[in-house]
Symmetry: C2
Subunit: 338 residues, 2 copies
Amino acid sequence: MKRPTIAEIAARAGVSIGAVSYALNGRPGVSAQTRKHILEIADKIGWRPSFAARSLSGSRAHCVGLAIARPADTLGVEPFFMRFIAGLEGELAGRRTALLLQVVEDHKAAIDAMRLLWAERRVDGMVVTDLWADDARIPVLEELQMPAVLVGRPRIDTQLPSVGTDDAAAVVAAVDYLVALGHRRIARVAGLPALHHTQVRIAAFREAVRGHGLGEPQIIDTDYTWEDGARATRALLSRRDRPTAITFDNDVMAVAALNVAQEMGVSVPGELSIVAGDDSQLCVLVRPALTALAWDIQSYGAHSARVLLDVIDGRSPSSSQETVAHLVVRASTSSPPV
Amino acid sequence: MKRPTIAEIAARAGVSIGAVSYALNGRPGVSAQTRKHILEIADKIGWRPSFAARSLSGSRAHCVGLAIARPADTLGVEPFFMRFIAGLEGELAGRRTALLLQVVEDHKAAIDAMRLLWAERRVDGMVVTDLWADDARIPVLEELQMPAVLVGRPRIDTQLPSVGTDDAAAVVAAVDYLVALGHRRIARVAGLPALHHTQVRIAAFREAVRGHGLGEPQIIDTDYTWEDGARATRALLSRRDRPTAITFDNDVMAVAALNVAQEMGVSVPGELSIVAGDDSQLCVLVRPALTALAWDIQSYGAHSARVLLDVIDGRSPSSSQETVAHLVVRASTSSPPV
DNA sequence: CTGAAAGCGCTTACAG
DNA sequence: CTGAAAGCGCTTACAG
């Protein structure tokens, strides 16, 4: 039941524990033959480094943190995180690094959690998601000099590395497609205004619509919930010059819109085209199935992990390429009524 | 930038580091006055125990593992895990224990992950979900003598503690309700046959239906996916003696059934009543909204954490009460056609 | 009630 | 290329 230690390997190999450590870590200082012998013994007795001992002497936790700051029930239907985590893990596993997950209510709790994790040296760095335009976590990370990767667009208010999505391109692709179908009144039901990418998307949307000479578009802010999505859709469909197409900033709201349209007797896609901002199984579960922007979230997670590990290891982060979305056309979009 | 250590506290307080350790851990061996003084200093300089040092000397990782064994894309729409994790964390945080999350493809990978975590002493125990009737992870946990909690019904093939759901009661409640509405042909679209609770539910369903004198019910196995749910529903609705009510083992398949019914011109709930096996936002996102069995998943998670920590600490697990479900009646159920 | 010391299992300069 | 030793920051018997 006693775990083997390097002392045992050293004894069996007849060398010092220092030599064993060097051999095991692939460092110079031992002859090729000794190294081979040591590795064989380690393998034979099933040795694994004690994680605590390595952390203590090596001053690396071999662990990164992810503090998700959202009310728990919002997380349910949200398919983003599980995919993102799977992507993170895939990359971390290869580097023998674990993921410490925290689910907290808000940014304040997230900050407390980060401070604690760092003070205890439980993690080597943090993955930070759901960034706000003005985000209280950033100054804290800077103050602590804690390695971190910001999952979101690059920002000018910090030197912290980020891994972004090309939000503008995605929004433009959706608008271009709708315009090509013949739509001229295109509205947008946007996400949480405090989020940085919400603002970027709104700006891109406005510019794209104007660029097509369609005048000032209707844009409604929401908090991403089904209720807000339904409310926004009702408001838009109640106007005299109601839109013939609406783009939504996530999938849940687009599904809500589908129900509102049905309730108001507006046919989809006959009288109203709908584009969801995220693609998920939800989009396929409803009828008509929703045209959506599909993001490769798993590789987004993998990429985030890579950048964070680069920062932790003191390397300059690998090229911060942006994750792009492609439009998956399904049954919720068509040409507008004539 | 240097973190304060107990050595620093000891120096400031003019005592030995041993005394500091005792004071900080609330153990006897220091006077009340000294203890107070030490605690004040620790607080003042913002001392936090080094997690690695505590683990190494105390032989406790202060961390538990959760290895989720499912393909990543299945996890997306599945609202269970995020809620469950939130529940786990709420309980763990109070005990200063972290959660190490692993997302793996299958049981084999989960076993490898568990062995590694244990060999490295990264965790003090595991939370084990998605148990199979015959589960390869159980003998491994026993072999390693690794503390664990099985999230699922108690089993006879192991001494490992479990935290269960009262699956039979939930199934019976749904059947009773449908029978009360007047249904006499009630079918069941069941989940993955390998899962233990699938079998328990099927048995309870069969017994409940027979108990009402309704003869042998139709039951179809699936893998929980939308596709399998749709297929099963199509098969059931194509029979001459097609059911007037179907209970599903999750929510995704119930939503699939809704679409199949629409596609086949069967009105819900007029000609077909549908009961979803899990309640989630999905059930409210569709029309008609789905009657569903609602489980308190967050407290299920909290309870699991409590039992695991009990086992780790060598206490006998707190009473293993079962999590129950209640039926949330919405628009997808009504009396059968006459 | 308190101090001095060994020990947890590694890593890493530092001599030979 | 190798060995002996200090050190990471705690915990915990063991003397006083």
